[in-house]
Symmetry: C3
Subunit: 675 residues, 3 copies
């Protein structure tokens, strides 16, 4: 495998974070001290200018980039590179005062007042004009500096706008989407229901809260349009930058499983994927190990957007945040553990929000490397410096990648459809948790599944799990069938294949579009359970699984029955089935059980696919990155107690010691074994 080095200038892993010197321009002593401490902390890169519009352009047309240029230069002189952000994430007051169309209109039709951030109208021409000007100037004045290695477009893009301009753009989008055929739209949106027929595209309004919210097709297209329009805005910013500095790569910082945008549609426009990672460590609703493995799933989602290339952890906190329900400190060791996890999962960076706490306003208590005390004599600073040291040791890992032959189907359209579907139980749909639970069960077997969309080519995989694949994209069923027919191991669950891409139900029995035949079953009814309801599945292997939330009643056509319901009126009927297609197998699990109970199925699928598993002690994460010159095994002990791990051989880059067969990791300890 070829290494994909993101930033040859850095010569290793990126360590740094958001830096806001614009808040301290009247304190040159502090700016001086920052550089000294950055070097002490092993920082080699900072992100600049995320919210600097008012500093660059304090009045319309009056530009000041010289102050920032000096800072970039000074950092560069000290070996610290710059990720340069476009400032569109927050608008100056003068701009909103003059161009009110830049401010969004909410789902009740009310235009926002100036304030907060991330709330521009994506459509407004006047706003785009202003952005074009500032971005071009930015590229010209700062982007040409050799210290600048990456552009960071805006910040944490998200949100919707219901202004008249956006409504009109939505109508135009729909007209193109449905090829100017309003009848096709009516058919796909099933508008004969409740007299919802449209005569023209210009009659269609977005789903205003006090308007049309009962047409599934409309709701979905509004979400797709919002992604499309945000992507359009992002591309517009990229184009401006590229016109001046075509060689600087671009990213934008994603937010994990944020549901407002389909990141998979945006990823192709970016040179590198990056995201902001803020887990609630040490919380009271899950174990620490679970928090860690939720984070691992998020890393996998990000990683899978550009397979074969490292991503970046653009933001994280060295200690705590200020917006969780309870803002608790990271316990000693956890900072290092979480940094190494990011790298283990495919990140080539560990970056913080932020370098130094600002004295005032909304995030004055968000964790930072340097606290208000301003000293490097703090627990947090020492933790960061320690991480910096370790990242230097791990420099050879940069450019290597995580690769796998197993994939989980996790689809944004499917999420949205499940969120919106009027069926099942209102509070128990839990699509994400269901996917995450299964993914984590594979991780416990040492398998870092890719997390892919249902329209992706599955030919690179041998094991695919597609939980609750309610909505089938065009081609998805064919994709799955082809996968099984060439020998793949596929597992699907209850609530699969009910609707097509337009959210129209398949006629003739679920799962539709040919999947009945693939799995050899028909799902006749789906039963939803109250939280206290339970059923069971008696598996042929003698095990018994517990059923919660959902149970489908199947008619088996030509599948083997692996498990049957133990209770209720469908007692004895099929709950788990498998239909073989040559070497390929299509498993169907008709009811919700814990992922842990399904593990034997997963192990069989992996075994049949010839993928070897790596079972580890409870609470130990295992990830592998590989490159041309070999691979790196990461072991993360999420327990507070030491654990012994067998079967480890190679050089531990953390301790610089050779491991032979067995090693002991301390509580929260990490090892990176080079082979």
């Amino acid at each position: 495998m070829e290494k994909k080095i993101l930033f040859p200038q850095i010569g290793g892993l990126v360590h740094g974070g958001d830096y806001n010197p614009d808040q301290w321009l009247d304190r040159p002593d502090i700016l001086e001290e920052d550089v000294r401490m950055m070097k002490k902390a092993g920082v080699n890169c900072v992100t600049l200018g995320v919210f600097s519009w008012a500093a660059y352009e304090p009045e319309e047309g009056n530009f000041h980039f010289e102050w920032m240029e000096k800072i970039i230069e000074k950092l560069y002189q000290n070996g610290i590179y710059t990720i340069l952000s476009t400032p569109s994430g927050a608008r100056p007051a003068w701009l909103d005062g003059r161009y009110i169309e830049a401010m969004r209109v909410d789902s009740r039709g009310v235009r926002d007042h100036h304030g907060k951030r991330h709330n521009h109208c994506m459509t407004s021409e006047r706003f785009r004009e202003k952005v074009a000007v500032i971005d071009r100037m930015l590229a010209e004045h700062l982007g040409t500096h050799p210290g600048v290695i990456l552009y960071h477009i805006s910040n944490e893009l998200g949100g919707e706008c219901f202004c008249p301009r956006c409504v009109q753009k939505f109508q135009m989008y729909l007209a193109e989407r449905y090829e100017y055929d309003i009848d096709r739209l009516n058919a796909e949106w099933w508008t004969s229901f409740w007299s919802h027929h449209y005569n023209t595209f210009s009659e269609i309004e977005p789903p205003f809260e006090n308007g049309e919210t009962s047409v599934m097709g409309l709701n979905m297209e509004w979400k797709r349009f919002t992604t499309w329009n945000m992507n359009n805005f992002m591309q517009f910013e990229i184009d401006v930058l590229r016109s001046v500095t075509p060689d600087i790569p671009v990213t934008t910082n994603f937010m994990g499983l944020f549901g407002g945008l389909d990141y998979r549609k945006m990823a192709p426009k970016l040179d590198v994927i990056s995201w902001d990672n803020y887990p609630c460590y040490h919380n009271d609703w899950e174990t620490f190990t679970e928090t860690m493995s939720d984070t691992a799933f998020n890393h996998a989602v990000m990683r899978s957007m550009k397979r074969g290339k490292p991503f970046m952890m653009m933001e994280s906190t060295p200690s705590l945040v200020n917006w969780h329900k309870v803002n608790k400190l990271k316990r000693p060791g956890v900072h290092k553990l979480s940094c190494v996890q990011a790298v283990a999962c495919g990140s080539d960076s560990v970056q913080y929000f932020q370098w130094r706490k600002g004295r005032g306003s909304y995030e004055q208590f968000h964790g930072a490397v340097v606290d208000h005390a301003g000293t490097d004599d703090s627990r947090v600073f020492r933790d960061v410096a320690e991480a910096g040291e370790l990242l230097k040791k791990l420099a050879p890992v940069a450019g290597t990648t995580v690769s796998t032959r197993a994939a989980l189907l996790f689809d944004w359209d499917n999420r949205w459809a499940i969120w919106d579907v009027k069926a099942l139980g209102q509070e128990t749909k839990k699509y994400e948790r269901t996917c995450i639970g299964i993914w984590q069960e594979f991780m416990k077997l040492g398998i870092d599944m890719d997390v892919v969309g249902s329209d992706e080519d599955l030919s690179r995989y041998d094991v695919v799990v597609a939980p609750m694949l309610y909505l089938l994209q065009p081609g998805t069923a064919d994709n799955l069938r082809a996968f099984v027919e060439r020998g793949g191991q596929l597992l699907a669950t209850y609530f699969t294949g009910y609707v097509d891409d337009a959210q129209l139900c398949y006629l003739g029995g679920f799962p539709g579009d040919g999947l009945k035949e693939l799995f050899g079953i028909v799902s006749e009814e789906i039963d939803s359970y109250y939280p206290s309801d339970r059923n069971g599945i008696a598996m042929k292997d003698g095990s018994r699984w517990e059923v919660v939330d959902y149970a489908e009643i199947l008619k088996v056509q030509d599948a083997e029955v692996l498990g049957t319901y133990t209770d209720d009126f469908y007692q004895g009927s099929a709950a788990v089935t498998c239909k073989s297609h040559g070497k390929g197998n299509a498993y169907y699990v008709a009811a919700r059980t814990s992922a842990g109970e399904m593990r034997p199925l997963f192990e069989k699928m992996l075994a049949d696919a010839g993928i070897s598993v790596r079972k580890l002690p409870e609470g130990v994460e295992y990830h592998v990155r590989s490159g041309e010159e070999g691979s790196y095994e990461f072991y993360l002990n999420c327990n507070t107690e030491p654990v012994k791990i067998a079967g480890v051989n190679g050089l531990d880059m953390v301790t610089d010691r050779e491991v032979r067969e067995e090693m002991t990791l301390p509580g929260y300890g990490v090892a990176v074994i080079r082979q």
Copy 2:
């Protein structure tokens, strides 16, 4: 008793439901199949055109009824009759686009966008014009068809509108209501409080959420006006239809205890009462038997609106709905049980929403007779067909009625007043639950009480229970007094007779308007309990009742004390009293206890009234319908286990077997004994 046959054409009970062929006009094969399957399922009637406006009039003034005429004709040819709906329940997009006044304004003063359904302004002249046109055309083109047996006005009427037209209409309504005497309004609304005096009717606004919500009289009149205005709209539709087809009866589908409209004011305008019945079977907050008996109460409310005449269950689901918190399947047997319950309680129809699931939009997963699979080989279809068979057997029941000598007073104005009153505990008022609980206790004694308004003639009853009759209509006190004086058994509770029709408190002691004298007590104070507070009542008969939520402190004038408080500072004072007036008795229960604890009182009242009770095993419902040729006893086993029932004699129309003294009903089993 004369039989009241609703539809001689049908020759028995109605079996059918909503049918939306407009969603399948491009699939003649499906329309064909529908007819075949309807006949197989024993369907003899369908409801057409509920939301067909856009199909009838796709563009303003461009009408198409021919497609529907063909469908009505085809169904008619196959022995299936039509209930024809006016399409005003949802407006086409073109209409809202052109006549924005048709869309409602909410309680914040914001006009809705086009969308959803059931949300027209009841006042808008332009909207009424459009409705008049479509309704007249409908009657002319379709209403004249011999297959049409009933008109169904709009759909599930409800909601309020705060638009300027409605505000003005409200002012005119008030002027008439108060005979153009603003001083009278000020006096009745007690506007000297908080300087709320009005100088003219034109100063009065409805209770906008961000306006005047603290005047009880205003709040109540707004509710009365909303009923009045909705009724006015409904009558307007009826008038249009009658002008063309005067002989077709009309209904509209009510929604049980829906609190937005006083259905008792609307009932006189309808030829037959119908309602939509969607219980949450098998839920986790009550037993199945309780769910069933809540439904029985709702049936009784509907039945009592037109005593001596059957009503219709216009909608219900053959399996599940899609809008409950948890959408659970009906267990086997429950469909038949719930169908027979409707008939037992006085319905002459079992109708579904809907015949066939639509492929898309809001209700695509609402249960239907025919699922997306499109087959009659399904559990649900078989259940429906079985019900169809049974209903045919029960044809002789059609036109018979439920009659009773006991009544429960349950008043819409009183509900609204209790909801709005600023007193007691905010979360423990529970007027409806209190009434339902008592009604159900009588049902367990085999008594199907009528549920009547407080202004109704009580001369047909011998036992009346009037729980929490906080608000007294003019004449109600006289009504109750006359009832007792002619020998009736009356029971009232805490929170009786506090305010008059204008919600002004009675001066001189509660209960007011002469009820102090009727009951022989004065209620000096009412204590409200926190959920953990408890008291007790020691009854003279030695039993002890538990007190929760409310306890009045009485001064006894000339009543017999039947029970006294066991605790707190009013320990030993009267809690249950009775004052006799000849054979009549006026009971007063001053505190909230469970209905079950009050049962001995109810039994005594029934005994004194000479009404015999029919005690049945736990979980078995008993109802009787009678007609000229005899009566039909219905036994419904709400248990999953079989029960033996003694004292049954006659022909069981379900099994076609003669029963002698004892029968065993299987779990969820039913029997209909003809005598």
Copy 3:
């Protein structure tokens, strides 16, 4: 100590309440009866005209005061004085109809409709004009009557207005506040964060809900402005009244810890402090003793606003209210107990809302002296008459005051800053509960602490506790330092001295502004706990405290360590410290514990300050009022059982018996010992 007699005319304590004869003008018999019963109940003063605008001025410019004059005169003839309210608390419908600018605009930018009360725009010139006219007429027609002893400005002032006039006034306020220096505002609001820079004051909008809510400085200044503007409005009303009747004192009725206004800024404009007291007695979330002592804290807050002068309890209920979650009756004895508590805590009045229940509208079921029955033969009336008798006996107490050498710092700005700070745990900040808990622990030691702002002179105190003093006003740190240096005993806690008056964090380590040196510690990090998290503190004296919610990690400079953490990674590090400055001591408690656990510290502080404590049986409150001629010890038994109290000597004014060393108080009993 000189006595501060509020109303020499009364010659003792005020007993009375709100009286609304305008609701009964058509019932002269009732007005007659009122006077008779008032005398029977020992009422010597009533509050008139709180909501009488529509009665005074039924149409614009058409005035009627004669009816009220007759009532004042009649009461006066019967020895009952009048507190006369300005009617600005609610506007007539005609006024809002004509001057819509009088109605407020909410935080979404929507103008209210006419209705409710307390919702005028404080800025509207037209509204002020109308108020000026009515207030002047009121003073001229009624204020000159000898029966009028006090003006009551408006009613329960509160709320915000976001109308364009208020926005502009806010901008002008800011311009003056920041001396027309927008750069200073930008610096103090830290607007370099998120590009929030302002170029001019006219760009600034208040924190609209859908606008700028993320700038702490803006949020705080909006709260300060709202107080300023309300104060400005109140002063405007006072000025009008003073211009006619300069000698009548003024008050307005506060609402305890209401957070919308900084009452301490308003107090100087008033001649006497008064407040409305509505505890939830007998609730289910705390003991009765706790409810009582919460009330005692509120009394202390009010008392401390004008030290050395009695305040008034302007409103309370003789029985129950109608707006609590559960409106429960006061148990027998509780009325007397609560009346005496008010006096014990420094009130020279016991007043009710209201004298007689109105028949209709929002408060028709709010407790009153005279119920709808209209009789004096009721438990409540007898309780009130009994209280009237007792208050007569306690006449000599009038004008005496509560004095103390201990104070609790409780600051409105600090409250607002803590509410708004984005840090800690969102639901566990509990600033008020923390302060109240500590205050109550001192009360259990017989110490009635003053409750003072952080800018107040501390030279009159020897013990000061300043919990969670997150925000330091300019001079506060100096104030505290001077206090300790002259021998004071000071205790501060976690979350002290993080930000200055502008909410900018102190640089160089917390607590800032010199407090690090005063306490001899630096707080390096603050850990927030989930509700199930616990830690402990091992105290040098062997006791062990439990830690919840918050724990700071300290670096000790030169303080003595009194206690250390028992768990977690900061186990063994300092949790409680003390640094001595001569006789003065500065204690720092770095974590949240119960106030009860801290009691030994409090006792030590009091002992070192030479303040003797008075420990009493559980559930007994002790307060002392003193004047020139001696002091009055109040003992309140909050238990339902009798208690023996030792060490009591003097005349019990309640029983008129001499007590020697020991007395027994019955359940809910009171004693007032004159010495």
